[in-house]
């Protein structure tokens, strides 16, 4: 029990509260009501009121505001109640007293009952009511809103915190005072016959430093934290874009969190990639020249923790669990991002890519609340500046190409086609102009459609002192703007918290997510470029043709007609995840508690592709219909057992935590391709053979029957220490030892540790009551974390026995073991400050970090004599260093209107410090990274223009002197000439795939019940591999339809032409122009996007109350309305690449060219 009395000019404020396990902090006025009983039991005889108030305060946590003078007039009271309500007790206390009370929030305000003075005369003109609004420290608050709703009057305080109203007639009123960051205050006043001068004290609403942050194994207040932790509420997350993927919704909201999803337009995609403070691994840095990943990128990403339960790492072998897999955005109460060592080290070997902690909604002990959130909207195709050529356009480009071809290869073409002049040649290779004009068909219109999104979230929450519950169900249906692509998702979540007694409590949760997705299996999305516009897809009677037969370049050709195929073919993606957990908490003593968290997760995924025998691919290659069925399954179990010690001696407070964890996970995947299926019968059993519909592997096991399975076990012990002195100086430390089966017995164990300290400067006397600085905290920490990248058993040389030769079993070496391989470790240093200025009108934080990742596992290419192409070694070191900052300002604040701005920005600098042979040879195409460069940097041959005479591209070839220094450059006309000496340095660094900076800006304007918010996201300094330009812009004009040139591009057609940006069509189609390491195919990825605009209106009025509605809001929301991209960017979506998935993206998904969807939604949110 603790008693804290603060003296204020004129008013004594008394806070009585019980100290619980939660630390009491600076300005320790925040009280969690849920921890107090609402019932009072007491027995007092003729006790002074002050004593009674103390007791009430002790039991309920309520504050009492009064002056000594007030109580001096009051008489002692006798109270004897059992489980009485506060109101009942207070009514007894104030019966027949000269004073009265009013309850405001958790404050009981005492006033003197005044009677009219003897010489009272009513002044018809009324009186002046003046006042000043101050905070608890007595500092005046400027800009606070002061209203007398009874009189419909309102004003705001001036710079000195003063306000005044004139002409207030005698009577009793309530002054309503509000200011952002403070609790609203209702002050009862009585006006008699003279001017009144009042002082109103506002109590700080939840100080940011008091905010409880869930860091995983323990909850901490923001003040206690020594590291960078950012919390964002579910309401904020939900007020942006609409998606089933939480990571999409987080983009632009959190510093240090780079989120990108190039397939956002495809609702069945696996979800956005999340990078916390840069790439701390070399996993996913593209593929090496053996077409193998340096390490698969898909398992790289932050650790996800939901309500204290660590989620499994992968959903299927090689596929990381993403935020999209774990929670329905509607169920989120808050998301906390743990970025540096002091917060993540406790998660040890899994935390080097950061930790994201999700807290879901919980019930409160205040009766039943029902919430209904409905949303419906239109999705509009967002194709950016991508436009495929019309028939006549393609024809004219083909004519240019064939003419150039003739000029270059006349002799060979004469022989090949048996012609003697250009016209005859063109007649053979080009279609008739009549056909082009008559039957041109715009395939884009049929492939990219207007569609819809709808969402229903219904929740019930509530409870009693003993049991609290939250039940939520959700339905989400998004149809993409690409044809035949959509996701229907059903979710539920049940959270139950039960307090048996003051010693024992438990929490149970069950979460289910059921996804039913469809994707286009008729290949429209990926093959629109193959569709020649003058090939009309319908017969004369208007039926889609069963296949497209036409002549191209003089050769007969057939192609699938997706309009026909989509009637029969399908591609479904079903995912089901079920998570359950049970936590038991035992308070052994007041200062020692034990908890055990046990979770069981189950996931199942199934992808089915059916190609009907009636369709092109089903029929053409003799497969006679085919079905591909891929399933994946995982289950994981984890038990975490933690002992927590917490005790305070005087100014010293100690918190110790020790725990142990044991987890297993099993992942399995199977896949089968079968063929020979009767039309419409898509069952594996009915198939005649194994094989692919493309017919090349009938009866072959390889590629048609797949299965993978592995188990891993992780065992850990960990501890954490927290110490604080005077709630002003904090220190923290943690240690964790992990043992993982991913490594051999000798290298199995690794220990990770962290230490940190923080200082709340604003609590020092020299800053107390400072008018500028409200809160100011400094913090620093250092520590390590790790990652268990890659597959199992790197330590052993393994044979794959899954082959046969001549019908006999055969085993082939699969990997060369490395007995000395061990853990990757990231050492991070974080320094930061949090501040709040000018009465919280300006608040924010600035952080600096330095993350050194060591012993990164790399598949190192070996010299040929060793016989193996590569071996996994701990070879790389990578440094990430950066600044991140957030600033929230209240720009305008008046009675009805408020404008606030939230801004955040992150700068990250990445550098490869060490790699085998001084460089990371990840040469899909000769691509490599040298020490000192960003690990996501791209090397390419620099294209510098077009030779005006030949129309050939010009490339820069560097000239080296004998010592290897660059002494100059010369322009040559082919990549082959640039690389003739085989010098890799001819590939020049043209930029990085990761942005140098990114961030978001949210502006919110509120006028009375109307609110408008605008979220902008920006990033810059990165380059993008432009797959569209590479695959479909003019380099294969003879074979496919092409993307039209955009403004600023001009094609070389005439000798001597100097303004050309694009080489001649002949040069593009021949020679080595078409090469992913031609810098021409990279674009500047800097962009700014209006991510979301949302207009909402809170409904008010008596009818709501009558209907039992406590809150109702209607809103309109627009997503991805507009993007400003760098000049010359061609595409529908400038979203950057995730962890250097260079050359890996866009391989024919339905998301092809879709871009982040433009959505116009309308919604309704009602709480009963």
């Amino acid at each position: 029990m603790n008693l804290l009395v603060l003296f204020k000019p004129g008013i004594k404020m008394m806070l009585i509260m019980k100290l619980t396990a939660v630390l009491l902090l600076f300005a320790g006025l925040h009280v969690s009501a849920a921890t107090y009983s609402q019932k009072i039991t007491m027995s007092e005889k003729n006790a002074p009121l002050e004593k009674v108030f103390k007791e009430i305060g002790r039991q309920t946590g309520y504050l009492f505001f009064f002056t000594d003078e007030m109580l001096s007039k009051a008489k002692p009271v006798s109270v004897s109640v059992r489980d009485a309500s506060l109101k009942e007790v207070l009514d007894i206390c104030f019966k027949d007293q000269p004073i009265a009370f009013s309850i405001s929030g958790t404050t009981v305000v005492i006033q003197v009952k005044e009677s009219p003075p003897a010489d009272f005369t009513v002044q018809p003109t009324g009186q002046v009511l003046k006042g000043v609004v101050k905070d608890e420290k007595g500092v005046p608050i400027a800009g606070a809103s002061v209203e007398i709703s009874k009189l419909n009057l309102g004003t705001a305080t001036n710079g000195k915190g003063e306000f005044s109203f004139a002409g207030i007639l005698a009577g009793s009123y309530v002054l309503e005072i509000s200011f952002v960051g403070y609790e609203n205050q209702g002050q009862r006043i009585t006006v008699w016959d003279k001017p009144l001068n009042v002082v109103v004290y506002l109590r700080k609403a939840d100080s940011k430093l008091n905010e409880v942050v869930v860091t995983g194994y323990s909850n901490k207040t923001a003040g206690e934290l020594t590291g960078s932790v950012q919390r964002i509420s579910g309401d904020v997350i939900r007020s942006g874009v609409t998606s089933s993927d939480v990571s999409s919704m987080l983009q632009g909201r959190v510093t240090g969190l780079y989120i990108t999803n190039q397939s956002e337009g495809d609702p069945t995609s696996t979800g956005g990639g999340v990078l916390v403070r840069g790439v701390s691994s070399i996993a996913g840095l593209g593929i090496d020249k053996y077409n193998e990943y340096v390490l698969p990128s898909t398992t790289y990403g932050p650790l996800i923790v939901v309500d204290g339960v660590i989620m499994p790492r992968e959903t299927s072998p090689g596929q990381a669990l993403t935020l999209k897999d774990v929670v329905n955005p509607g169920d989120i109460a808050s998301i906390t991002t743990l970025k540096d060592a002091s917060a993540t080290a406790i998660y040890g070997s899994r935390a080097s890519a950061g930790v994201i902690v999700i807290t879901t909604k919980k019930g409160k002990a205040d009766g039943l609340h029902l919430n209904l959130d409905l949303k419906y909207g239109l999705n509009v195709p967002n194709r950016g500046n991508i436009r495929f050529l019309s028939g006549p356009e393609l024809y004219s480009y083909q004519k240019i190409y064939y003419t150039e071809n003739w000029n270059n290869n006349q002799q060979a073409l004469e022989a090949q086609y048996g012609v003697t002049n250009l016209d005859d040649y063109l007649n053979i290779v080009l279609p008739s102009l009549q056909l082009v004009q008559d039957s041109s068909f715009d395939y884009q219109k049929y492939g990219f459609v207007h569609s819809y999104s709808k969402q229903v979230n219904l929740s019930a929450s509530g409870g009693t002192d003993k049991t609290r519950y939250y039940l939520g169900i959700g339905y989400y249906n998004e149809q993409s703007t690409g044809i035949d692509n959509g996701l229907a998702r059903k979710t539920f979540r049940i959270n139950i918290d039960n307090t048996f007694n003051k010693r024992l409590s438990f929490s149970a949760a069950i979460n289910g997510i059921f996804d039913d997705g469809t994707r286009d299996n008729s290949n429209f999305g990926s093959s629109i470029y193959q569709l020649i516009p003058w090939v009309y897809p319908y017969t004369a009677s208007g039926q889609p043709k069963s296949q497209l037969s036409y002549t191209l370049g003089g050769y007969p050709t057939t192609a699938p007609n997706f309009l026909y195929d989509k009637q029969y073919n399908y591609n479904t993606i079903r995912n089901q995840q079920l998570y359950g957990s049970l936590r038991i908490n035992l308070n052994i003593t007041d200062w020692l508690s034990a908890s055990s968290t046990n979770s069981f997760n189950l996931g199942y995924g199934k992808n089915e592709l059916y190609t009907d025998a009636r369709t092109y691919y089903g029929a053409t290659f003799g497969a006679n219909g085919g079905l591909t069925d891929n399933t994946s399954y995982y289950n994981s179990e984890l038990t975490s057992n933690v002992l927590t010690f917490h005790k305070k001696w005087g100014d010293h407070s100690f918190k110790l935590l020790g725990g142990q964890e044991y987890g297993t996970s099993e992942n399995e995947s199977t896949g089968i391709n079968v063929i020979g299926l009767k039309p419409g019968y898509h069952v594996i059993n009915l198939a005649q053979n194994i094989g692919s519909v493309y017919g090349y592997s009938t009866g072959i096991k390889n590629g048609n029957i797949l299965g993978d399975e592995y188990t891993s076990v992780l065992f850990s012990g960990f501890g954490e220490m927290g110490y604080s002195y005077k709630d002003k100086y904090y220190a923290s430390a943690s240690v964790r030892t992990d043992a993982s089966t991913n490594f051999g017995p000798d290298k199995r164990y690794a220990t990770f540790y962290s230490g940190g300290a923080s200082w709340i400067v604003s609590k020092e006397n020299f800053l107390r009551g400072n008018a500028i600085v409200n809160e100011w905290k400094l913090r620093a920490n250092y520590g390590t974390s790790g990652s268990q990248n890659g597959n199992n058993f790197f330590t052993q040389t393994l044979y794959n026995p899954g082959y046969t030769y001549g019908g006999q079993s055969a085993a082939v070496v699969a990997s060369l073991g490395n007995p000395s391989i061990g853990w990757e470790t990231t050492r991070s240093l974080g320094i930061g400050t949090d501040f709040s200025l000018f009465h919280d009108r300006v608040s924010g934080n600035i952080d600096y970090y330095n993350r050194l990742s060591l012993n990164l596992i790399q598949k190192v290419p070996l010299t040929g004599a060793l016989g193996f192409p590569g071996q996994y070694q701990n070879s790389g070191n990578v440094l990430n260093r950066g600044w991140e900052g957030m600033l929230s300002t209240v720009n305008i604040r008046s009675r009805d209107f408020r404008w606030t701005t939230d801004f955040n920005i992150t700068f990250n600098h990445n550098k490869l410090l060490k790699a085998v042979g001084d460089s990371l040879d990840i040469s899909t195409q000769g691509y490599y990274i040298q020490e000192g460069e960003d690990v996501n940097s791209v090397k390419a041959v620099k294209e510098v223009g077009v030779d005006p005479t030949s129309g050939n591209p010009l490339y820069q070839k560097l000239i080296f002197d004998a010592k290897g220094h660059v002494t100059g450059s010369t322009n040559v006309q082919s990549i082959g000439e640039v690389l003739a000496e085989g010098n890799d340095r001819q590939y020049q660094n043209i930029g990085s795939l990761q942005p140098k900076y990114f961030g978001g800006i949210t502006n919110t304007f509120t006028y009375k019940q109307l609110s408008l918010s605008i979220l902008l996201y920006f990033q810059g300094g990165n380059i993008l591999f432009n797959q569209y330009r590479f695959d479909f812009q003019m380099n294969s004009v003879a074979d496919y339809n092409q993307i039209a040139y955009i403004k600023g591009q001009s094609l070389w057609t005439t000798p001597g032409q100097k303004n050309a940006t694009e080489p001649s069509l002949y040069a593009q189609a021949n020679g080595d122009w078409w090469n992913p390491l031609n810098a021409h195919f990279y674009d500047n990825g800097t962009y700014l996007r209006i991510r979301n605009v949302r207009l909402s209106y809170n409904l008010t009025g008596a009818f709501l109350k009558k209907a039992g509605i406590s809150q109702a809001q209607i809103y309109a929301s627009g997503d991805n309305l507009f993007a400003v991209t760098h000049k010359g960017f061609l595409g529908s979506d400038p979203s950057g690449e995730y962890a250097a998935d260079a050359f890996q993206q866009d391989t024919g998904s339905v998301g092809f060219g879709l871009g982040a969807p433009r959505k116009y939604l309308f919604g309704l949110n009602i709480t009963f």
């Binding site: 020692l592 592995y710 065992f715 043992a739 058993f793 794959n800 055969a810 070496v813």
Partner: protein, 504 residues
């Protein structure tokens, strides 16, 4: 309550800690088996030996994702003059060997593919050979039955054969022809162990050939026991047949022959030809040997019963994809293929030559070879990849004989092949004209079988493509041109300082 709770927690923690090590050790790889476990049994050794064949044909494809056989075929056949590359359908990498660019980069040529694939195979062989040696010296060997022991020794012989096969292919690509200063010109690395610290430099061409001959002879000796393995595996006849070719390559030019080597070529050819198990296919059987088999009804994919074939890769489970280089198909709406029979080759076929039936005009109007064409579609070829067949042994012998001055036997051997093709016997030839005829016959008989690219240079002759094949300009490479050999891959030069580059 208090005490029991603490006790319980402590107990639980203790139990979990102690049980952990056992639990962790119990987790083992599920999808793969360890090297130690695999190589300690007879069946494991046989499996890894089979795995070494898989490496040649693997549809998963070498270390770069392209099967060894396809890489080697690209380099061996297309450096000759039987094909013309379609510029529109081939890229720089596919044309690298054809155009004699000889790139040292894996992105623009297949040289590095061949180098890495070969040493992957060789180290696989060495690992198995070492395991066999260990096994033979252990107690386990003595417990084997006699047939099992013979099986093990045969496997050892097969591994020697495969190493010789890989080294011979390597030295033909990276080392100058044997007639040209073999004692000083550099061959390839003789990597004869699996030791990761054994990183040799290049031996001379002569040293390389010496190792090849030694491996083949040793292999033949180990395989002398039982001939139970079929022609999709190496056997002693395969070793002899390859020896006849290796000695032929060592036999010098027509004007400066090496009598001893030619004699050895004849001797080993005799050994094969005298084996009753092999005979030349005649008549319709010969026509069907390479007939278009789109439907697979001829059963060509099952090469085991073919008495002419001495050693071929079994592709019946989906093969090495050599076919994809030859076949003009409309695949996914676009044309594929890339190398078509050269005009000069087509015109060299006489009327009535049965071997013109190994060509067909496909539905797109393109002429193509049917030697690899049994698959209904394009990616995997099911037809066997034939490395050694009896017809070649006859031609080896004919060439060695004519170089040795034995014109009569040479002409007789030449006519065995010539008349089988439905042509009338050649008469009155001797000396240079006879030698030229043998080479001409070899070009036609073994066209598209990976021989043509070497047959000119090993005889000191230029390889010439007439203007009709090249779209205008004749193309000639002299046997002494440095471009006759490919560059050592740049990555190899940089990771192995002992290697010396083939300067172009």
């Amino acid at each position: 309550m208090k005490r029991s709770s603490i006790l319980y927690t402590a107990l639980m923690t203790g139990v979990l800690f102690t049980s952990c090590k056992k639990e962790l050790d119990a987790v083992q790889p599920l999808t793969y088996i360890s090297q130690q476990g695999e190589l300690s049994t007879l069946s494991g050794i046989l499996e890894t030996t089979n795995g070494n064949y898989v490496n040649l044909a693997n549809t998963d494809g070498g270390v770069f994702g392209v099967p060894y056989a396809a890489v080697f075929h690209n380099i061996s056949e297309f450096r000759g003059n039987t094909v013309t590359a379609d510029l529109g359908l081939t890229n720089a990498q596919q044309r690298d060997a054809y155009s004699y660019v000889n790139s040292g980069l894996s992105t623009t040529g297949y040289g590095e593919y061949l180098w890495k694939d070969s040493y992957f195979l060789i180290v696989g062989v060495n690992t198995t050979l070492e395991a066999i040696e260990t096994f033979k010296s252990g107690a386990q060997f003595l417990q084997l039955t006699a047939p099992q022991q013979s099986q093990l020794l045969h496997a050892e012989g097969e591994n020697y054969f495969l190493r010789a096969f890989a080294l011979f292919n390597l030295v033909r690509v990276f080392g100058m022809p044997y007639y040209n200063a073999p004692g000083t010109n550099l061959g390839v690395m003789l990597k004869l162990t699996s030791d990761v610290t054994d990183i040799p430099g290049r031996s001379t061409v002569q040293q390389t050939y010496t190792q090849i001959v030694s491996d083949l002879k040793q292999g033949a000796a180990y395989m002398s026991g039982t001939g139970s393995q079929s022609n999709i595996y190496a056997n002693k006849e395969a070793a002899w047949a390859l020896l006849s070719r290796v000695y032929l390559y060592m036999g010098g030019t027509f004007t400066t022959p090496d009598a001893n080597s030619n004699q050895m070529a004849v001797t080993y050819a005799d050994s094969v030809i005298q084996e009753a198990a092999y005979s030349l296919l005649q008549g319709q059987e010969y026509v069907d040997m390479f007939a278009a088999d789109e439907s697979g009804t001829l059963g060509r994919a099952d090469v085991k019963g073919n008495v002419e074939v001495i050693f071929a890769l079994d592709n019946s489970q989906g093969g090495d994809q050599i076919n994809s280089m030859y076949h003009y198909l409309n695949y996914y709406g676009s044309l594929t293929g890339g190398f078509y029979p050269a005009a000069s080759f087509l015109s060299s076929l006489q009327a009535g030559d049965v071997r013109s039936q190994f060509l067909q005009v496909n539905s797109l109007g393109k002429t193509e070879t049917t030697k690899y064409d049994v698959s209904p579609n394009y990616v995997y070829g099911y037809a066997p990849t034939i490395f050694l067949r009896l017809a070649e042994v006859f031609l080896n012998r004919a060439e060695a004989e004519v170089k040795s001055g034995d014109n009569a036997d040479a002409l007789s051997d030449l006519n065995v092949i010539h008349t089988r093709a439905g042509l009338s016997a050649l008469t009155g030839l001797s000396g240079q004209p006879l030698f030229d005829s043998v080479l001409a016959e070899r070009k036609i008989e073994l066209a598209f079988e990976g021989q043509n690219g070497f047959d000119y240079f090993r005889n000191g002759l230029p390889m010439t493509r007439p203007s009709g094949d090249t779209g205008g300009t004749p193309f000639t490479i002299q046997a002494t041109d440095p471009k006759v050999v490919m560059q050592i891959p740049f990555d190899e030069i940089s990771t192995n300082p002992k290697l010396v580059q083939n300067n172009q």
